[in-house]
Symmetry: C3
């Protein structure tokens, strides 16, 4: 499984293509992980942040996008480094010159977890495959 949560500050509304960013993250997991992330377990969501204080709190245009990944344990360290290096570069490219237009902090964190699950999306996928 692979969960991604994309937090974004509300002062970025209209300044980047949010649906495209979510799709890009899901596509990276689906198409560029050599099957490490089963398609039916990919879950990417966005959380809008309306109240925040950034840095010294002095510049209303200061903004951030933070991506938290939760994935199953046991993938080799080399895979993780290569895959997320690639994903982070793709996210930066997708955001384009937003970093020049706004004071912007982008971050990406990855944690591993094992849990309980039950999933009928896999069946939907096998029907449509």
């Amino acid at each position: 499984m692979a969960h991604a949560t994309v937090e974004w500050t509300a002062n970025l509304e209209g300044k980047f293509d949010r649906p495209a960013l979510l799709r890009l993250i899901a596509d990276e997991m689906r198409l560029r992980s050599d099957g490490v992330f089963p398609v039916g377990g990919i879950r990417v969501r966005a959380i809008r942040l309306d109240e925040y204080v950034i840095a010294d709190g002095a510049e209303p245009r200061d903004a951030f996008i933070n991506i938290d990944i939760k994935m199953g344990a046991g993938r080799p360290a080399e895979f993780r480094k290569a895959f997320f290096d690639q994903m982070f570069a793709a996210v930066r490219a997708e955001l384009g010159d937003l970093f020049d237009r706004e004071p912007l902090a982008l971050s990406l964190y990855v944690e591993e977890a094992e849990g309980w699950k039950h999933n009928t999306i896999h069946q939907r996928l096998s029907r449509t495959a």
Copy 2:
């Protein structure tokens, strides 16, 4: 203490009894943990997700419910397995045939944490007990 966060995709609005699901999780912690979770420390919340991409992004009915638990460290592994096996089974039963009606991914993750706390709910409980 025991925190639970229930994320749910907005396309499930009206398709399951959300207040009942939150109550069930709190009740499991309160009534079925043999006192491992002090009542005054039980905090269950729901987060609605309005923007997301699931799996291949091709099926608007794809949905997920994700439950993250944060609990104090030090509970034995056997307790954790037994308790959360039971909770997960109870959540599945509460959701009933939603898994057949929608392509749905349910997940439950547990992490341990120690921190700082100050809590006057315990006093409220002892007054009403």
Copy 3:
């Protein structure tokens, strides 16, 4: 870097000064950490919780504020204890007698993480310095 997320239950609306609490957390990180937290990496946000079950679910006034910190790895344990003891005391003082007026659970958790980042807030700060 230092991320803080302040969850608060909606029944606390109007009962404490939320912008002041966010500013206080950012100020503690900026002014009282001896430079351990670079200013441009401080990101504090609030998340409003509209649906929740607390304790036995019997008292609508039961409320909570939960603060999750994510910081870079490697700060000494003594720094962490001293810094967050101080921050927690400052948060309690900021909330004042809210603990007496409402049954309220306050919690603070700290985790370490390393990830990927790209940040042009540092440049904005150096221009205005």
